[in-house]
């Protein structure tokens, strides 16, 4: 427009305009090309990526928790079962003022202070916002009352759930254990084990006992439902369903009735009892007294109950049978006797003269016998029957710690028995090597003396002693003790029976075994230390008593039970098997602070034998009223 007008203005103008129109078209084509490229990228190149995103948008996988397997005794009695019940639950997402809601709720349904405390703890522990149980086991009446008032409580709901129930409660708590809510630590462990996926949707898992040891069998396989969800997460329809597989039922070798009789036979005593079928290693009874109510732990224990259990001087949470470590006392003597025979240190006819004490050559220190004046002339048979200490002091010294260690190791001392229950302690069988490592000191001969009577450094668990006793009863053929006999799958198609294969034959000379077993049978006969055990019995019991010192005594001091506070009294041991000639059951009884094995522990064993061998149920369970024979060990 700056140039002088030469051509027809109108045509020039049209030309310029059309030029600009062409530029506009090119501009539009450029936009079009850009758009097509973008669509090619999204719908062509990146299609599968967005396809996946769209799928994960719309498909949600909902886990279906499997039913937990049952735990049955050898006769099918339920030790752990499931029952459906109703719970009152609060959805933390929907409830603003928790305190006020619970206050108001308690006017409709009774909420005990301990429920409240437990719930608070659950809230503190719950990592994501979820629905938590405030009351379980609602009665029909409570459900009806709440249903009428439900409109007042948005976010509070009643749900039907499967609960775990332990019918034997505290009588089998240490055996069966319990399940509890899965916590952070459990989650880490599950992740490490690569089983976390199977726990999607699961709230509980085994925490102790068989519930824990057999968790992988009991839990089952989580099923899932693929559902299509809308953007609000509501399920619109089901796409596919993989049903859950219920956990396997485990059948124990335990006899529930025997367990109950044994538990009650303890009366007020604390202690442990393990009974084993020596022919195959099946555990028939497994008791740690006192027990506790395992159901307290399932939904998180309230702090009051926890304090009560944890601070109790009786330590009910301690599994004495599996983890309690005590000096074996004289119960070690039959095994020491076998060692002496095995290494030719003693012959059956060899005798010693017992003045009531033992001294090492070149020392004036007196290792006292429990009988002040001694037992006179003692051979191996008599040493077991009267439980002569002096005999075993000398024997131990002559054997030497290395031989003792080697021989007792064969019977499982100082090692875990390998029972199928988690958390077993291994006891302590001292050796030169051990002492050097533990105390940086060499082994002295004096250390060996007390080992001979099961004192000193050595410690055993009731479980170990039961295993050794069973092995002895079975003529040296050892079986790994086990609680589970059979695992039944929900489909009943791949049931597994746990094999009873012997672990090892210790190759003990049959003559030696015969002698020791005869001596043990004499222990329960007049003149023995456990006469009370077999009074009037229709079968023979072979056994050995023991006492484990709780407090040491000074040289020359005399043990007087009446002067010592109850908790410092000696622990009473009794190992036994019956019938002595053809053992069907071997057991160990520990009565804490029970004093003499023959007086307190042996009568408990007797009740177990009577039921197991004869089917005799003790009449109103009265505590054994046996006169204490003086100073019996």
């Amino acid at each position: 427009m700056k140039k002088p007008v030469e051509f027809k203005n109108h045509q020039r103008e049209i030309f310029h305009f059309r030029l600009r129109l062409v530029v506009s078209m090119i501009f539009v084509l450029a936009l079009l090309a850009l758009l097509i490229l973008r669509l090619l990228y999204l719908q062509g190149i990146r299609h599968s990526y967005y396809q996946t995103l769209a799928e994960s948008n719309r498909i949600s996988v909902v886990p279906i928790v499997p039913n937990r397997g049952l735990i049955l005794d050898r006769n099918g009695v339920e030790l752990a079962r499931n029952y459906s019940g109703y719970t009152l639950e609060i959805n933390l997402n929907k409830v603003k003022n928790l305190e006020a809601t619970i206050d108001e709720l308690s006017s409709v349904i009774e909420i005990a202070p301990r429920d409240r405390k437990r719930f608070k703890k659950l809230v503190a522990e719950s990592h994501n916002f979820e629905t938590l149980v405030i009351r379980s086991k609602l009665t029909d009446e409570e459900i009806a009352r709440f249903a009428a008032q439900q409109y007042r409580f948005p976010g509070v709901e009643i749900n039907a759930r499967l609960f775990r129930d332990y019918p034997m409660s505290d009588k089998a708590a240490h055996l069966v254990g319990y399940i509890g809510r899965i916590n952070e630590t459990d989650l880490d462990q599950l992740e490490a084990d690569d089983t976390l996926a199977n726990y999607r949707g699961s709230d509980y898992m085994g925490k102790t006992g068989l519930e824990k040891s057999y968790e992988s069998e009991l839990h089952g396989t989580t099923g899932m439902e693929q559902v299509e969800v809308d953007s609000a997460g509501r399920a619109v329809r089901m796409l596919s369903r993989t049903p859950p597989v219920s956990g396997n039922t485990i059948v124990l070798s335990i006899d529930a009735k025997l367990q109950e009789i044994a538990e009650e036979a303890f009366g007020d005593y604390r202690g442990a009892l393990v009974a084993i079928d020596p022919n195959n290693g099946e555990v028939l009874a497994f008791i740690s007294k006192p027990g506790y109510d395992p159901s307290l732990f399932i939904d998180g224990i309230d702090s009051d109950s926890w304090d009560e259990l944890n601070n109790s001087p009786d330590h009910p949470l301690n599994n004495r049978a599996l983890r309690g470590q005590y000096p074996s006392g004289s119960t070690i003597k039959p095994f020491m006797a076998l060692a002496g025979l095995n290494y030719n240190i003693r012959t059956p006819t060899h005798t010693i003269s017992d003045p009531g004490f033992y001294t090492l050559s070149g020392s004036s220190h007196r290792y006292r016998d429990w009988k002040k004046d001694g037992h006179g002339t003692v051979d191996l048979f008599k040493s077991i029957v009267v439980s002569c200490d002096t005999y075993y002091y000398g024997l131990a010294v002559e054997l030497g710690i290395d031989n003792i260690f080697e021989f007792l190791s064969r019977f499982g001392f100082g090692k875990k028995t390998g029972i199928d229950l988690e958390g077993e302690a291994s006891g302590l069988l001292p050796s030169q090597e051990w002492k050097l490592k533990r105390f940086k000191q060499k082994w002295f001969t004096g250390d060996t003396v007390s080992v001979g009577i099961g004192q000193g450094y050595s410690l055993v668990t009731p479980m170990q002693l039961a295993y050794a006793t069973a092995t002895l009863a079975n003529n040296g053929v050892a079986h790994t003790p086990h609680l589970v006999k059979e695992i039944r799958s929900a489909q009943a198609k791949d049931n597994r029976v746990i094999a009873n294969q012997p672990l090892a034959d210790l190759k003990i000379n049959p003559e030696h075994l015969d002698l020791v077993k005869r001596a043990m049978a004499a222990v329960t006969q007049p003149g023995g230390t456990a006469v009370a055990a077999s009074a009037g019995a229709e079968y023979h019991i072979a056994g050995k008593t023991g006492t484990a010192q709780v407090v040491g005594m000074k040289q020359g001091e005399k043990y007087d039970a009446s002067k010592i506070s109850e908790r410092n009294r000696d622990h009473a041991w009794f190992i036994a098997f019956a019938p002595a000639e053809q053992p069907k059951i071997a057991l160990v009884v520990l009565a804490e602070n029970g004093g003499h094995g023959g007086g307190t522990a042996a009568p408990i064993a007797r009740k177990v034998f009577d039921y197991y061998l004869l089917g005799k149920v003790p009449k109103p369970l009265v505590t054994a009223d046996v006169k204490e024979e003086p100073e019996h060990d």
Binding site: M1, E13, H16, F17, R18, R20, L21, S24, M25, F27, V28, L31, L32, L34, L35, I36, R38, L39, L40, L42, Q43, G44, R46, H47, Y49, Y50, Q51, L53, A54, E55, N57, R58, E228, V229, D230, S231, A232, V236
Partner: protein
Amino acid sequence: MTRRQFWVLITKQIDRPFLLGISLLMLTSLITLYSADNANWGKPSSQMLNILVAMSAMWVVANLPLHYLMRTAVPIYMLGMVLLIGVALFGEISHGARRWLNLGVATIQPSELMKIGVPLMMAWYFEKHEATLTLKNYVIAALLLILPVLLIARQPDLGTALLISASGFYVLFLAGLSWRIMAVMGVAALASAPVLWSMMHDYQRHRIMMLFDPSQDALGKGYHTIQGMIAVGSGGIIGKGYLNGTQTHLDFLPERTTDFIFAVYSEEFGLIGNLILLTMYCFVIWRGFVITGNASTYFTRLMAGSITLTFATYTFVNMGMVSGILPVVGVPLPLISYGGTSMLTLLLGFGMLMSIETHKKLVKT
């Protein structure tokens, strides 16, 4: 009058190729809306009503001789400005923006009116000064554009402000604004970007930021873009099939009957469907360019060009926004998105295009 004569009378001012193009697009709108409304007739039937009303308006405008059209420019523009100022002073606030004016009988959005009003006024102004165009005239025309744009941007309605700016700019461009000045303006625009940024509302900045990385705020501001891209991308080459779009039918797509309807269409009909859709748009735009090229007067050339280019721009901006190459600015897909106002505005513009095409011979003589 025979039936045939009546038909000729009715349709003589209607451009048939153009009518064919927009009818196909409106049919697509009804089909897609049925799916977007979860196989309900609710949205498609009210859209049908919108179409009928807008078609009638288009017919009326198409029948107006061009000098009537020119005469409406100043009153429409002035009315629009008065309403915009009214909105600024007494407008109703909804979703944090003051865009609507309650007139007692109806609530209106004056910025919609200005989509036609601004280019109309500018084209009228250039026509007026056609013989003696100087730089001053361009400046005044630019002011006619900038004033309403600023008012609209303040509401804030950035999308509409930018689109009206675009339609005004097309008028300036077609009116022969020198390349040099445009280059200077381009540089100035780049230089003023930081200033504009500082003037923007937080939500506007957020939307622009989301363009670069929508995943930053996947459940908030980026949600629209991400779900839109998932819908488009998961459609693939042949699409998931009509009424089978999971993003659409499971409620993941927001605003799926309005701004994000392209995602619904893309998900169900795929790349092939998109190419067909783009072909329909190109046909309409091509016809618009033909009409522009044939237009007889300065005013009609500018007006037709601006209407055509604005239509193309709307289409590109909406599709670009849904497919994630432009920020979410709230622009409907022309002729497809549900909505009476935008349909009316569009068809009023197309009525003008038709009038320009069918009345050109009368003017030429």
